[in-house]
C-alpha cells in the first residue's frame, strides 16, 4: 500500500499563536493596502465594470494596431481615460475599457466610431475572416450602468453573507454553536485574506471572482467539517481524552485526506489557471489562493478557536456552579455538558 502521512503526531494546537499571528498579519497587510490606497485617492480594489459601471468592448482585428494607436483614436473621438488591454492568449484581440459616463452615453457606439478610423466593422452575422473589406469586429461588449453596478455589488455582498448564515445554522444544528461560529470565522478569514491579495496585487474583481469567492467559502467549510466530524466522532469514542488532544488527533488522522484532496483540487485549479483562458483567469486565481487558505484555516484557525471557546464555556459553567456552592447544580451542569468536562490538557495550559 502506497501511503503518505500516516501515524503522524503533530501538536497543531500548540502552534496556534504562530498560526493566528500569521493570519492576523496577512489580514492586516490586505486591510493596510486597501486603507492606504483609499486614503491616497487610489482604488482600494480594482473593481471591474460589473461593480463600477462602464463599458468593456472586446475587439478582434485583422491587423491589430498598437495599443497607443487605439488609445489615440479613442481620444480623438472624445473617449478619454480608456484602458486598452491586450488579451494574452489571443494576440489579435484587445479589451477596450471605457469608464462610466453620464446617463445616455453609449460606450459601445463611441468606441465603434473610434474604431472606424482603422477600417469598417465586419457585417453582423459574418465572421471577421469572412468579410474581405472589414478591418475589425466587435466580438463582445459588457456595459453596466451605475444602477446595475451598485445593484450587483450589493447583491454579491448580501449573497455571501446569507450563505455564511446558512452555513452557520447548519453546522450549529449538526454540531454546536461554537463549531458553527468557529467555521464561519475561519471562512471569513479566508475571504478577507483573498480580498487582501486582490487589493495588494490589484487583480480585477468581476462577477466571476465573486463566484470564486463563494466556492472558496464552500471549500473552506468543507475542510473544516471533515476535521470537526472527526472530532465529534473521537469525542464519543474517547470520552476521557481532553478536547485539546482529541482535536490534535483528529487533525492528524484526517491529514492524509486533507493533503490528497486539496492537492488534487489544487491541480484542477492549476489546470484552470493554465488552460482556462483569460476569461476564467481571475476566477481561477481567486480559487487558487482560496484552496491554499481554506485548507490552512480549518487547521490553523477554526480548530483553535473552537477549542478555546469550548474551554471558556466549560470554565464558565464550573465557575457558576461553584459560586452557587451547590454540588447538585454542578452535577447537573456536568451532566448536561456530558463529555465536555476536563478538556484542558494539563500539560499544555491554554492561558
Amino acid at each position: 500500500m502506497f501511503q503518505v502521512l500516516h501515524d503522524i503526531n503533530i501538536d497543531w494546537l500548540g502552534n496556534r499563536r504562530w498560526f493566528i499571528g500569521i493570519s492576523v498579519l496577512l489580514m492586516l497587510a490586505g486591510l493596510g493596502s486597501a486603507v492606504v490606497r483609499q486614503a491616497t485617492g487610489r482604488q482600494a480594489f480594482n473593481l471591474g465594470v460589473d461593480f463600477k459601471g462602464g463599458t468593456v468592448v472586446t475587439t478582434r482585428f485583422k491587423q491589430k494596431p498598437s495599443d497607443d494607436e487605439i488609445r489615440n483614436a479613442l481620444t480623438a473621438k472624445g473617449v478619454n481615460d480608456a484602458i486598452v488591454q491586450p488579451v494574452t492568449d489571443r494576440p489579435d484581440t484587445v479589451l477596450i475599457k471605457v469608464p462610466l459616463e453620464g446617463e445616455g452615453q453609449d460606450g459601445r457606439v463611441k468606441v465603434k466610431e473610434a474604431l472606424n478610423t482603422f477600417g469598417t466593422e465586419a457585417a453582423p452575422g459574418s465572421e471577421l475572416e469572412a468579410d474581405q473589406s472589414a478591418a475589425y469586429k466587435i466580438v463582445g461588449t459588457d456595459a453596466v450602468g451605475a444602477i446595475a453596478g451598485a445593484q450587483l455589488r450589493n447583491k454579491a455582498i448580501a449573497v455571501t453573507l446569507a450563505a455564511l448564515v446558512g452555513i452557520l445554522l447548519y453546522i450549529a444544528v449538526r454540531f454546536e454553536w461554537t463549531y458553527g461560529a468557529s467555521a464561519v470565522i475561519a471562512v471569513f478569514h479566508d475571504v478577507l485574506v483573498t480580498l487582501g491579495f486582490f487589493s495588494i496585487f490589484q487583480i480585477e474583481i468581476s462577477l466571476n471572482v465573486i463566484a470564486a469567492l463563494l466556492t472558496l467559502v464552500g471549500f473552506s467549510v468543507n475542510d473544516t467539517i471533515v476535521v470537526f466530524d472527526r472530532i465529534r466522532e473521537n469525542r464519543k469514542l474517547h470520552r476521557r481524552d481532553s478536547l485539546y488532544k482529541i482535536t490534535n488527533d483528529s487533525i492528524n488522522q484526517t491529514l492524509s485526506r486533507t493533503v490528497i484532496t486539496n492537492g488534487l483540487v489544487f491541480l484542477s485549479v492549476l489546470a484552470l489557471v493554465l488552460f482556462g483562458g483569460d476569461v476564467l483567469r481571475a476566477f481561477s486565481l481567486a480559487l487558487f489562493i482560496g484552496v491554499v487558505f481554506g485548507t490552512y484555516s480549518s487547521i490553523a484557525i477554526a480548530s483553535p478557536i473552537m477549542v478555546w471557546w469550548e474551554q471558556r464555556i466549560e470554565a464558565a459553567n464550573r465557575e457558576m456552579a461553584l459560586s452557587f456552592n451547590q454540588p447538585r447544580v454542578m452535577k447537573a451542569a456536568g451532566a448536561a455538558k456530558g463529555a465536555k468536562q476536563g478538556f484542558r490538557d494539563a500539560s499544555k495550559p491554554l492561558h
Partner: protein
C-alpha cells in the same frame, strides 16, 4: 453482504446509467440509426444542452422603466386638467403648481376666493380623476387646495406602468421576429427592471432603439389664423410664449411645443449636413385632439413624388378615435393640425376636408426608420421612457473560444485526477474513476432534465464538482485504509469505511448545497449558472461516489473471500 441486495443495486445503477446516457446523447424524438453516429451525437448534444449567452453568443440587456417619469407626466396632466376644470366651472385661480420631485407628487391650485374651496374641489373632481381617495389625498390650506398622491398609489401606478411596458416590449420583440427571446422582470419588483436575452443577436443597436422608442403620438390643434395664411410658427420659445399675452406664462389650455420637421439621417446625409431645418416653436391647444391610444394601425409607405428613399407613415384610427377626429376636423376646416411624436411636432398640415379615420406622418423618413416607427406605433406607446442599465453581447466565436478553453481545462483536470487515483489507490482507484465518469454523465443529464443553462461559470462549477467527487472517494478510501490498518477484516473495513465517511460526506455536501442554494435564489446570471451546476453535480455525486462505488466493492467481495484489498 447478500447477493440479492447486490442484484438490486446493479439493476438500479444500470438503469440510471442507461437513462443518463440517453438523456445526454439521445434525441428528444423517435431516434433513428443516424442519431448514433459521431456527427449525429454531436448534433443532438448541441440541441439537448442549453448554452448560456456567454457560450452561444447573443445579447443580454437589462432595462429600467423610468416610472418616476410616468408619475411626473400623470401629475402634470392632472394639474392642467384641474386648472381647466376650475376655469370651466367659473372659478378664478391665481395659480398653482404640480410638484413632481423627491418622490412627492401633488397638484395644488391657488384660489382667488378661498371660501369657495369646497366648491372648486367638487367641480374639479367631477371632471378630473383626482377624487379617487385611493390615489389622491385632498388637503385645503389657506387659499391653496392640494391633492397629493399616496405612497401606495405611487407604487401601484409605477408597478402597472412597468407591467404595461413589459407587455409593449414583448409585442415589439415579437414584431421584430427575434428567435427564442427571453423576456422577464429582473430583480426586485420595486426596481422596475426588465431583462431581455436574445440568443444570436450580436449587434443590438437597432433592437435597442426600437424598444426605447416611446412613440407617444398626439394629434393637436395648432393655434393661428387658418389657411391660406401659413401655419403660425415662432423662432424661439420666448416668442411663442409672448404671443399668448398672458404675462410670460402658458395658460393651462395651451402648450408650447418644439417643431422640427423630421429629416432622418439617410445614407447620403453626410453629403448634405445642412439639410436639418432650424428648430421652430408652435402654440397648440391643450389637450390634444386624440392620442396614440386611438391608433388602429400604422404602416410605412414610400412618399409619393419624393425621392426613392423617402418614406412616410400612414395610420388609421379606431372607431372611437375616428368619431372624435371626424367631429373635430369637420368643424375646423382650413385650420392647422400638428402631428406630435414624443413631445415634438413632426409635421403640420391644414385640414382640407373632414377626415375620419386615417392620416399621415410625413417628414422624409428612411425606409428602415419609417418601418421601425410604424412598428412601435402599432405596439402602443410606452407609458414611461426606458433606460438601459446593463448590456452584454457575446459573439459566437468568443463563446466557442470559451467552450474550448473550459472543456480543455476540465479534461486536463479530470485526467490529472484519474492518473493520480489509479496510481495512489490502484485497484480501488478504478472505482473512483468509474464514479467520476458517471458523475460527469449524470451531471449533464441533470442539466438537461432541469432545463438548466450551461454557462462559463457553470463549466467552472463542473470542475469543482470533480474536486468534491474526488474528495468523497478520498474520504472513503482513507477511512477504509485506516480501519484495515487497525486490524479489521476486509469486508468490515469496507463497511465501516463507507458508513463513517458517509456522515462526513453528507455534512460537507449539505453545507455546500445550502450555500449554492443561496447563490441560486439571490444570485444573478453567471453566479446562478455556477450554483445550478454545482448543486446538480453534488446531488449526483452522492449517488455515484457513495452508492456506485460501494456496489463495486460489494461485487468484488462477493466473488471471493478477500484477504487483502487493492487500495
Amino acid at each position: 453482504m447478500k447477493k440479492k441486495n447486490l442484484l438490486t443495486r446493479v439493476i438500479i445503477i444500470a438503469i440510471v446509467t442507461v437513462v443518463g446516457i440517453y438523456l445526454v446523447i439521445g434525441p428528444r424524438r423517435r431516434p433513428n440509426l443516424k442519431d448514433f453516429t459521431w456527427s449525429g451525437i454531436k448534433q443532438t448534444l448541441k440541441s439537448n444542452i442549453h448554452l448560456g449567452l456567454d457560450l452561444q453568443g447573443g445579447s443580454h440587456l437589462v432595462m429600467r422603466v423610468k416610472t418616476e417619469e410616468y408619475l411626473k407626466r400623470l401629475t402634470e396632466e392632472s394639474y392642467t386638467a384641474a386648472q381647466n376644470a376650475a376655469k370651466d366651472a367659473g372659478f378664478e385661480t391665481k395659480g398653482g403648481q404640480a410638484v413632481t420631485t423627491n418622490g412627492n407628487y401633488s397638484v395644488a391650485l391657488q384660489l382667488s376666493d378661498p371660501s369657495k374651496a369646497a366648491e372648486v374641489k367638487e367641480a374639479v373632481q367631477k371632471k378630473v380623476e383626482l377624487g379617487d381617495s385611493n390615489v389622491w389625498t385632498y388637503s385645503p390650506s389657506g387659499d391653496t387646495i392640494t391633492w397629493t398622491m399616496t405612497q401606495a398609489a405611487q407604487r401601484t401606478l409605477a408597478d402597472n406602468a412597468s407591467t404595461q411596458a413589459l407587455n409593449i416590449i414583448d409585442s415589439r420583440i415579437n414584431a421584430l421576429g427575434i428567435t427564442e427571446p427571453l423576456l422577464q422582470t429582473h430583480g426586485a419588483q420595486s426596481s422596475h427592471q426588465i431583462l431581455l436575452q436574445m440568443p444570436g443577436v450580436q449587434d443590438p443597436e437597432r433592437v435597442k432603439n426600437i424598444l426605447q422608442g416611446q412613440s407617444r403620438l398626439e394629434l393637436v390643434h395648432v393655434i393661428g389664423p387658418p389657411s391660406p395664411a401659413p401655419a403660425t410658427t415662432y423662432t424661439s420659445e420666448a416668442d411663442a410664449i409672448a404671443s399668448l399675452n398672458s404675462a410670460g406664462t402658458v395658460p393651462p389650455n395651451r402648450k408650447v411645443i418644439a417643431y422640427q420637421e423630421r429629416i432622418e439621417k439617410s445614407a447620403d446625409s453626410s453629403k448634405d449636413p445642412n439639410q436639418q431645418k432650424p428648430k421652430q416653436w408652435v402654440v397648440v391647444e391643450n389637450p390634444a385632439i386624440i392620442d396614440g391610444s386611438e391608433l388602429r394601425n400604422a404602416a410605412a409607405i414610400p412618399t409619393q413624388g419624393g425621392r426613392s428613399d423617402d418614406y412616410e407613415i400612414n395610420f388609421s384610427l379606431k372607431k372611437t378615435g375616428a368619431e372624435k377626429f371626424g367631429a373635430w376636423t369637420g368643424s375646423h376646416i382650413n385650420e392647422y393640425m400638428g402631428v406630435v411624436l414624443n413631445g415634438e411636432v413632426k409635421s403640420i398640415a391644414y385640414i382640407k376636408s373632414q377626415i375620419f379615420d386615417s392620416g399621415q406622418i410625413s417628414g422624409r423618413f428612411t425606409k428602415q426608420s419609417a418601418e421601425d416607427l410604424a412598428l412601435t406605433l402599432r405596439s402602443g406607446a410606452l407609458p414611461a421612457p426606458i433606460e438601459y442599465i446593463e448590456e452584454r453581447t457575446v459573439g459566437p466565436s468568443l463563446g466557442q473560444d470559451s467552450i474550448r478553453a473550459g472543456v480543455r481545462a476540465s479534461l486536463v483536470g479530470l485526467a490529472l485526477v484519474v492518473v493520480f487515483m489509479l496510481f495512489y489507490y490502484r485497484g480501488s482507484g478504478v472505482n473512483a474513476v468509474v464514479a467520476l465518469i458517471l458523475n460527469m454523465i449524470l451531471m449533464l443529464a441533470g442539466l438537461i432534465v432541469f432545463g438548466a443553462t450551461l454557462t462559463l461559470p457553470g463549466i467552472a462549477g463542473m470542475i469543482l464538482t470533480i474536486g468534491m467527487a474526488v474528495d468523497s472517494n478520498v474520504l472513503i478510501f482513507e477511512r477504509i485504509r485506516e480501519e484495515w490498518r487497525s486490524g479489521k477484516t476486509v469486508p468490515s473495513s469496507v463497511d465501516l469505511g463507507f458508513d463513517r465517511a458517509f456522515i462526513t460526506i453528507i455534512d460537507t455536501h449539505v453545507t455546500t448545497i445550502i450555500s449554492s442554494l443561496f447563490l441560486f435564489v439571490f444570485g444573478t446570471g453567471p453566479i446562478r449558472g455556477f450554483a445550478v451546476t454545482l448543486v446538480i453535480g453534488l446531488l449526483v455525486n452522492l449517488f455515484s461516489a457513495v452508492y456506485v462505488s460501494r456496489t463495486i466493492f460489494i461485487w468484488l467481495l462477493s466473488r471471493r473471500k478477500m484477504e487483502s484489498l487493492s487500495i
